[in-house]
Subunit: 242 residues, 4 copies
């Protein structure tokens, strides 16, 4: 299993607070705990050649993790198309936090993916609402993040195949924080937490969820459907042919 | 309730067989039974000004019906974007037959929407698998079309919110022929039958389904969510602010 | 459309606080706003002959509303079986608040329907998460109940066909407060609010939801599937018969 | 992982044809390929002490496979209740063929689970409609069974979490032949094929599906929700308490 972490990697370069939290980038922090969990990990960023989304990288990737926030518009449309093709062909995709507004996620969802938000350092409590799902393995019935950006409903997404987490926010909102989808032969998991000004990706529960999600999203099926014009499998006899 | 039927309207101009079946166009045939059912109907075609998809037309439309086949690529991307915005804002969308490959449907689904097909004049039997859904009202447990183009699985769509119909084809395939989705505040119904070389839109059961679907897709909700930066509804006291 | 409101009707007889809020019973309060909305309403209670669930009553009912709390075990198993049969045959069912633990709801869900609860007079804020659903028509993006009993996740139900509402509670929990299901030809809506010690059923938003739900749940389909041994619709020729 | 195969085991004792196909019982045939695939398997039958459904057996079982047909009514209600409790607590359940009418399946579904059927030795072609699901791994896009009993829609089940297979029958019917559900913390898979008079459980594709389903259904989550009366996690200050 090969995991690629793609990070916009701009806040960490431009903002001292963010850099002090993630000195090696958000991708670096995620790579660290995934490697410790035994996964083969590579990282790519927006300022890499071909924006880090060249065909070879994607072909070698079983699960792609995507973090982005302020530079969604800079991502090349052809690169987005390449990523989408790979997802539909079976590559898993984990979409983190503000990547709800990434081209790739909106493209795969077909909706605006809009939501409410507030940066006020408030408490988030994330409840498990589907305890039988493999992505929730190893968690208690809820976990807390002492300070996070708030995301609130209505979250303009298609109704998820499965809603795994619902967040309670101190300021009075709720949010569907963990959502699974199938698109083509690929599996997609949206996971809400991870604002760049908080050390969210060092949280053990957040790490557990991301590790579980990698495992869940990677599992490809060998079924390769055929499309297009096709021969009949049974005789077509009952009416005179045209 | 105002229904707009959008038809590519090319086969009917170019092909004698098709024109003999639908002398006033597929849109004309659909308009006729919808008008008889009491709906206010207007029709638009690809060769109309602004491809029939100008802002005013869309604003006046509660439910848009879409038939297209050979000219998907000619539909202007900005027009597709306008239609999508209206769907996400609450306009119903009924996607017929070969419009599975239209830009608007693929855009809203996020998948290739690919499938198997065969033109061999074979029998299709359409089974109701959700008898409690309003779109199935007035049907028997199945209905038949003596000759239709075959569409076969795998149909590369997101798992439907509800699968209403499954087709049996003489040549040995099956197909999810009636599928509902929500996208934003809009409702979408995909309905398989309707190849241009067969008189499918004169079939009473097909007409019943389309009338029911118009009724179902039109019902808008008055809930208008707010998105973006938002004030807290409850005091955020528990941790020192940043 | 004929609506029957079934109420356990015990708290109102035994407890002065509850009686002072609902002097004509919870069923009386619900009947009043449904009648004002133009529905034909009848009420039944646990202490009626045949527990108010005789065959004739059920046959005349298009939508059954069910409130119960402390006497679930007293409801006769044969009566439950009659109600279930009617739901599967197309009668709508609206399950309110503590009726999550009723025999009829558990029976239709197949799960324990267990949950967390706390009686502490706390604030509940109910968010709309599916603004395109007819049950949410006429609401703002959220509404509040100043004091309610808390119900918290995990709520042990099958994943709903559609999750319409999610509640935020002052004490830190969340809850899927509006859930739709299909069972057989019947539609089921679970709606959380309505503890007997608060005037919840006088709240205009709660009334809007219940009126909408009656409308949604009533719509029956005319499709009557046949079950059991059946003749072939096509010749079975390809292998020698047994 | 421990798999228990529960078989009614009556046809094999009473009918020469069936015995000649399954000399060691249907459970024996299933046990054989599961053991070869490396699973720890035990078998139980209706005529065992406590009908083979004693508490100890269930506690030792991660996935229970259930085949039954003519003696559903003989299964003890308390035994059914024990199985149901274990499923809701996380045991996987695989329901085969005519077990659609078993007490345990109807109990977990909440519907009649009725369907059409015909014993006419016709061909069944099973199409994969969700190629990304782990239960479909290792299959081609369809597989055939030369002779099977027909099961036809409408199948009176709740809409599945995921519909994996749809069958085409020579006689003109279709059927949702592979359906997944969650109930409580347990996973359920219904799989259609397996009439006792055909050697279906020796078919390699059928065996692949059952092996995959065991793997899928076994995966338990460690999340153990708490239910019942609960302390507030946040101060409830905003209104005077009752």
């Amino acid at each position: 299993m090969r995991v690629t972490i793609w990070n916009e990697f701009r806040h960490e370069k431009e903002n001292d607070t963010v850099r002090s939290i993630y000195p090696r980038g958000i991708h670096g922090a995620i790579a660290e705990f995934l490697e410790q969990a035994g996964y083969a990990v590579q990282t790519r960023t927006l300022d890499d050649p071909e924006q880090g989304l060249d065909q070879e990288t994607l072909q070698q990737t079983d699960v792609l993790i995507w973090w982005a926030h302020k530079a969604h518009a800079e991502v090349n449309d052809h690169a987005v198309e390449r990523v989408k093709k790979r997802v539909l062909a079976g590559m898993g995709l984990i979409v983190l936090h503000s990547a709800h507004f990434s081209k790739i996620f909106r493209n795969l969802m077909g909706t605006t993916c809009d939501l409410k938000w507030r940066e006020d350092g408030e408490k988030e409590r994330i409840w498990v609402v589907q305890p039988s799902h493999p992505i929730t393995r190893g968690l208690e019935e809820y976990f807390e993040l002492p300070q996070e950006e708030m995301y609130g409903e209505h979250f303009d997404i298609p109704e998820p195949d499965h809603t795994l987490f619902i967040s309670w926010f101190e300021g009075g909102e709720v949010f569907r924080s963990g959502c699974t989808y199938n698109r083509g032969k690929g599996k997609i998991f949206y996971f809400r937490p991870g604002h760049e000004t908080y050390p969210t990706y060092y949280d053990k529960n957040v790490q557990t969820v991301i590790c579980n999600a990698v495992e869940w999203a990677a599992a490809p099926s060998a079924v390769v459907p055929n499309y297009g014009n096709t021969e009949a499998l049974e005789p077509i006899l009952r009416l005179a042919k045209k």
